[in-house]
Amino acid sequence: MSTLLAIPFLVPVLGAAAALLLRSYRRGQQAVAVVTLALVVLAAAALVRRTADGTVLTSQGGGWPAPLGITIAADPLTALLLLVSSVVLLVVLLYAIGQDTAGLSRATPAVFHPIYLVLTAGVCLSFLAGDLFNLFVGFEIMLTASYALITQAPTRARVRASMIYTVVSLTSSILFLTGIALVYGVTGTVNLADIAVRLGGAPDALRTVLALLFLVVFGIKAAIVPMHFWLPDSYPVALTRISAIFAALLTKVAVYAVIRTQTLLFARDDIAPVIMWLAIATMIVGILGALVQDDVNRIMSFALVSHIGFMLFGLALGSVAGLAGVIVYLVHHIVVQAALFLVNGLIRQYVGHTSLRALRGLTAISPVLALLFFLPAMSLAGLPPMSGFVAKVALFQAGAQAGGWLAWTGVAAGVATSLLTLMAIFRVWVRAFWGVPLPDVVEAGERLQGRRSGGALLMAGATGAMVALGLALAAASGPLTALAFTAAEDLISGQAYLQAVLGGAS
C-alpha cells in the first residue's frame, strides 16, 4: 500500500534523473517520460479503485507514527485528481513528442523532459501530502519546474511574462511559509490531521485570520479575482504544451489546496460568505474580461479565471452536494481546459497566430479542427450532453438546496456566467471559424495539405484523445458523480481522514 502511494511522486523523480542522464538521446528521453507517466496513471487508477468506497489510505514516511512521520494520505478526492491529472499529463506529453518529431517546436527537448517529470512529481506530491509543510514542498517543486518551463524557447514577451509569474508566485510562497509558521506557533504541529484536532481549541478570531491567510495564499495561485491579474498575462505566451498543462493543472492544484485546508482545518461557517462573494466576483470579472479580448488564447485564459469561481461557489455552500459538484467540476474543467489549449496550439501551428483580427473561415480549410474546438468549447459553456452541463447542474442544484439569498445570488451569477461564456465562444466561432477564409488562412491550409507527417498526426491525435476524454466524462457522469459524493462525504465529516492518519498510530 505504501508502494502505491509512493509511485506517483517517486517514479517521476527517478524518471527525471534518467531523462537528465539521457539528454543526448531524444528517443530514450521520450520513452522514459512516457513509461514514467504510464506508471503514474496505473498507480492512480489502482488508488481510485481502492478508495472508491471512501477509505483513506495512509503511509508514514520513515516508519514513525503520525504527528512525527511524513504523512502521505490518499482519500477519494486525491485519488480521482491524481488519475485525471496523470492522464492529462500523459496526453500533453504525447502532443509535445509529436511536435518535436515533426520539428515544429523551438523548445529544447533535452531540458523539457526532465523538468516536465519534475513538475509531475510536484503536482502528485501536492495532492498526496498529509502535512502542511510537505504540501508546501510539493507546491515549490511544481512552481520551480514551472518557472523553468514558462521560459522555454525564450522571447522578449515570454521573459517579461515569466518575470510577473515568478514574482507573484514567490510572494504567495512567502505568505504560505508565514502561514505555516503561524499554524505551528498555534498548534505545535504541521501534520494536517493533527492541526485539525488541535486547532479546534484555538480562539475563533485566530482561526478566522489563519483561514483568511490560507485563502489568500492559495487564492493567488488559483487566480481568484482580485488576485488573478497575473494569469491572463503569463499563460497565453508560453509554448502550447506548457500553457495547456499550466491552465489544466496548476490552478486546480491550488483549488484542491483551498478545498483541503478549508474543509479539514478550519470551521466552515467562519468565512463561507467571504468565499461566496469571491466566487461571484471571480465568475463575473473573469468572463467580462474574456468578452473583450482579441486573442483566442487570452479569451481562454480569462474563461479559466472565471470558471475557478464555480469551484469556489460549491465550496462556499459547504454541503455534501456542493462539494460533490466542485469535484465533478474540477475533473471536467481539467480535461476541457487542456483540450481547448491544445486546439489553440494546433491553430497557432497551422496559421501562425491565434489573433481573432486575422482569422476567418478556419472551418473551410480544416473541418476536423473546427469540430475539435467546438466540442470542448460547448462543454465549457455547459450545453446539455456535455460534461460541463453535468457539473454545472450539480452545482446549481446544491445552491438551490442550500437556499438563502446569498446562495441564490451565486446561482444567478453562475447562470449569467454560463451564458456569457457561450457568448464569448460564439464570438470566437463566428470570427475565426465561419466566413470566407482570409487569403493567408487559405495559404496556411494549402501548406497544411502538402505537409502531413507522423509527428503532426500525433499532435492532432493527442488533441483528439483529450477531446474524446471530455466526451467520455459526460458518458461516465453517473459513476463519476457517485464517486464525487463519496469523496465529498469524506471531506465534510473529516472523520475517515483523521482516523486513518491518527487512529492507526495510537
Binding site: 517517486l10 527525471a16 534518467a18 537528465l20 508514514q60 514516511g61 516508519g63
Partner: protein, 200 residues
C-alpha cells in the same frame, strides 16, 4: 604615427583581461592559465585558494558523515563542497572552474536524484515504509564500532544534488555570461579597429 602608439598602449591592458599589478603571482598556483572572474590576479587569493580547497572538501565530507546526530548533513556538506568550486572560479575564472569539475553539473544532479530516490524507495520493496532506515553495525579494526545506515546514502544523494545545482548556476550565470561578454567585447574591438582603419 599616433595610431601605432595608441594601439600599443591599448593592447596589454585590453578590454578583455584586467591589467596585471604588483599583486600578480610569478608562479603558477592553480591548474590552468588564470584569468580571474573579477578584477586583477592576486597572489594572496590564488595561494589561499590553493591551500583552502582540499581542506574545504574534506570538511564537507565530515559534515556529510557527521550529519545524523550532530549539525551537518548532505545539504550543509553539499553547500560547503560547492563553495570550494566557487572559490576556484573566483580566483581562476571559468577555465579553472571547468578544470576542477569532476563531471558535468547535470550528471551530478541526475546521479544525486537517482541515489536519493532509490534509497528512499528501497524499503518499499520489502514491504516497509518510504524512507525507512536500514542499519547495520560492524566492528572495524581501527575505528571500533561503526554503524552504517541507509540515510547516509540518501544524504550523499542530497550532497550531489546541491553540488550539481550550485555548479550549474555558477556555470550558467557566471561562466557562460563571462564567455558571452568576452565574445561581445572581441566583436566590438574588431569593429572599432575596422572603423579606425576605414577612413584613413
Amino acid at each position: 604615427m599616433s595610431e601605432v602608439s595608441d594601439e600599443g598602449t591599448a593592447a596589454p591592458g585590453g578590454a578583455g583581461t584586467p591589467p596585471e599589478g604588483w599583486e600578480a603571482p610569478r608562479e603558477r598556483w592553480l591548474s590552468t592559465v588564470v584569468s580571474p572572474a573579477f578584477g586583477p590576479r592576486s597572489v594572496l587569493l590564488e595561494v589561499a585558494v590553493r591551500l583552502l580547497v582540499p581542506s574545504v572538501l574534506v570538511f564537507s565530507v565530515f559534515l556529510l558523515v557527521a550529519g545524523h546526530d550532530r549539525p551537518g548533513g548532505g545539504f550543509a556538506g553539499g553547500l560547503v563542497a560547492s563553495m570550494a568550486f566557487v572559490l576556484r572560479y573566483i580566483a581562476g575564472g571559468r577555465h579553472e572552474l571547468a578544470a576542477g569539475m569532476p563531471l558535468k553539473p547535470n550528471t551530478l544532479l541526475a546521479g544525486g536524484l537517482l541515489l536519493s530516490g532509490v534509497t528512499a524507495g528501497f524499503p518499499l520493496i520489502s514491504g516497509g515504509d518510504l524512507l525507512e532506515v536500514i542499519k547495520h553495525s560492524a566492528e572495524l579494526p581501527v575505528f571500533g564500532k561503526v554503524t552504517f545506515a541507509s540515510y547516509l546514502a540518501f544524504e550523499a544523494g542530497v550532497f550531489l544534488i546541491v553540488v550539481g545545482l550550485v555548479l550549474s548556476v555558477v556555470a550558467a550565470l557566471g561562466a557562460r555570461m563571462e564567455a558571452e561578454e568576452e565574445e561581445v567585447r572581441a566583436g566590438r574591438r574588431r569593429r572599432r579597429a575596422r572603423n579606425k582603419g576605414g577612413p584613413r
